[in-house]
């Protein structure tokens, strides 16, 4: 007689990587940040866009639309960058303080997965914020565009069809432009890079404030990185110490100027598809590399 030693009960197997675990962590991060009333900044954005639109009504329609685009996209860029750095800076310290981190890591959750969940949660927050801001901005712009078009039609009653069509075309080309969308996507990828960079800093930083301050400092240095690189590699007569210093700046810090395409987009410059792919790809690469470095440090960190 043989005895069947295998149990008929299902055996829970632990997988090295689980998307559902990452998703659960991401959703939890998003809910936590929502509870901290991060979305309240959207009210300020709404006030800025609607108030700006009302104030600008005294300008010519071209000026009004230009200002609306400048202020709205500039505000989107500021808000997403600030949220990316400040909210991420306090993610790990808060989890340590609340002891949530220990509860999660006591379960079979690898540290790299925990960090990936945090990163994904932040990206979800940024994506939803950016979508809401874009929707508000596009709605206000479309409403103003329609108002200007009806005013133009009323003022041009009795004129030839060609003149009316030309005037309407001028209003439409000054207002909503499809080229704005790639610009908004670049704002998102720049914010994603900042999240991953801040996450990397927070894995070895001693406090949230320190992480936030260092991130903001890197944000400014990152916008000058290209200048440092040009001096480092250019035929400029500088001392070797300066050259070494510039090389370190160019090699360690990200080139954030590469993502500043919005200044051109608001004045109607279109981003060619290939350039968009290159810039977005670079942002994605930075995000992945910074996340991998963060996971590497965090996996050996004593908690």
């Amino acid at each position: 007689m043989t005895i069947n030693t295998t149990s008929s009960l299902p055996v829970a197997t632990h997988r090295f990587f689980s998307l559902s675990r990452v998703w659960a962590l991401a959703l939890n991060t998003l809910i936590e940040l929502t509870r901290q009333k991060v979305f309240y900044f959207l009210l300020i954005f709404a006030l800025l866009v609607i108030g700006n639109s009302a104030f600008m009504a005294q300008f010519s329609f071209e000026e009004e639309f230009q200002m609306l685009k400048d202020v709205s996209l500039g505000a989107m860029s500021i808000f997403t960058s600030l949220i990316a750095m400040l909210a991420t800076a306090f993610l790990l310290p808060k989890d340590i303080e609340d002891r949530t981190l220990y509860t999660i890591l006591a379960k079979p959750v690898p540290r790299f997965e925990y960090l990936l969940g945090k990163l994904a949660g932040m990206l979800l927050l940024l994506l939803s914020s950016l979508l809401l801001m874009s929707a508000l901005f596009i709605t206000v712009l479309a409403i103003r565009e329609n108002m200007v078009i009806s005013d133009t039609l009323r003022q041009m009653q009795g004129m030839s069809q060609n003149e009316v069509t030309a005037a309407i075309l001028k209003v439409k080309t000054s207002a909503l432009n499809i080229n704005l969308l790639p610009g908004i996507a670049i704002i998102f990828i720049k914010a994603a890079l900042l999240v991953a960079m801040t996450l990397l800093i927070s894995t070895f930083a001693s406090s949230g404030i320190f992480t936030a301050l260092v991130s903001i400092a890197i944000y400014f240095i990152g916008h000058l990185q290209a200048t440092a690189r040009d001096y480092w590699l250019g035929n400029v007569s500088i001392t070797w110490i300066t050259r070494v210093f510039l090389a370190i700046v160019a090699l360690v810090f990200p080139d954030l100027q590469a993502f500043n395409l919005i200044d051109g987009v608001v004045v109607g410059t279109a981003i060619p598809l290939l350039l968009f792919i290159k810039v977005f790809g670079l942002g994605l690469l930075y995000t992945i590399i910074y996340y991998l470095f963060a996971a590497f440090i965090f996996s050996g960190k004593e908690l």
Binding site: R229, A258, F293
Partner: protein, 257 residues
Amino acid sequence: MKRIALTIVFLLAFGALRAPYEIMLQDSEKSAQFRTVVLNLTLREQIGQTSFLAALSGFRSLIAAFLWIDAHIAWEKTEWGRMAGIFGIVTTLQPHSVLYWDMSAWHMAWNASVAAAEDKNQPSELLRKRAQHQYFDLGRSFLERGILNNPDKYYLYERLGALERDKYENHAAAAAAFAKAAALPDAPPYIRRFAAYELSKVPGKEKEAYHMLREIFDLGEIQRLPTLMKSLQEMEKKLDIPQDQRIQVPAPSREKK
């Protein structure tokens, strides 16, 4: 600590790997009209350190927008000198905005120049005229710099043509500017007519003007506007074009009662 040190080494290696790509990307962005603005120390003195830092951090358009509002306030107070200064900064911050160049030139050459010519605080007619011409020059300078930064935009050439025609009454320069505008993509057909009208007013250019006007006339009924017909008939008379080659203008029809 060992992991942090290793990460720094990895960061440096990653930096070395991405540097050639970023240089190539910088060139691609420049050729697509991005990253072409040079923020120098003169600009820093003009806009202050905070705004300069913001402009460096990717908020150029935002700073330009706020400064434009400031210029609008200066306009309401008719502070023309301050406006000129602000326009200089705005156009430096956003050199690819046709709107900023156009509006700056318009305020200077059309509004400030009239204000200077009618300045009650200046009793000297000569000085008033001088100030008026200085504003014309300032307007032209904005348009010329705008064209240098946006050579493919017809609108700035068209505005330059209008400035030469209306303010300087330099028909040759106006014709040249209109002709350049007409040759650019998206230029509306009226600009070509403007170039021909201006050329017809330049002594010694009658033959060229005639050919240009005739070419436009031959494009069809839609181009045969009263001003074009009148200019063409004048050129035909001046150049003594044979009767059989002259345009046939239909006599105005009389309605029977």
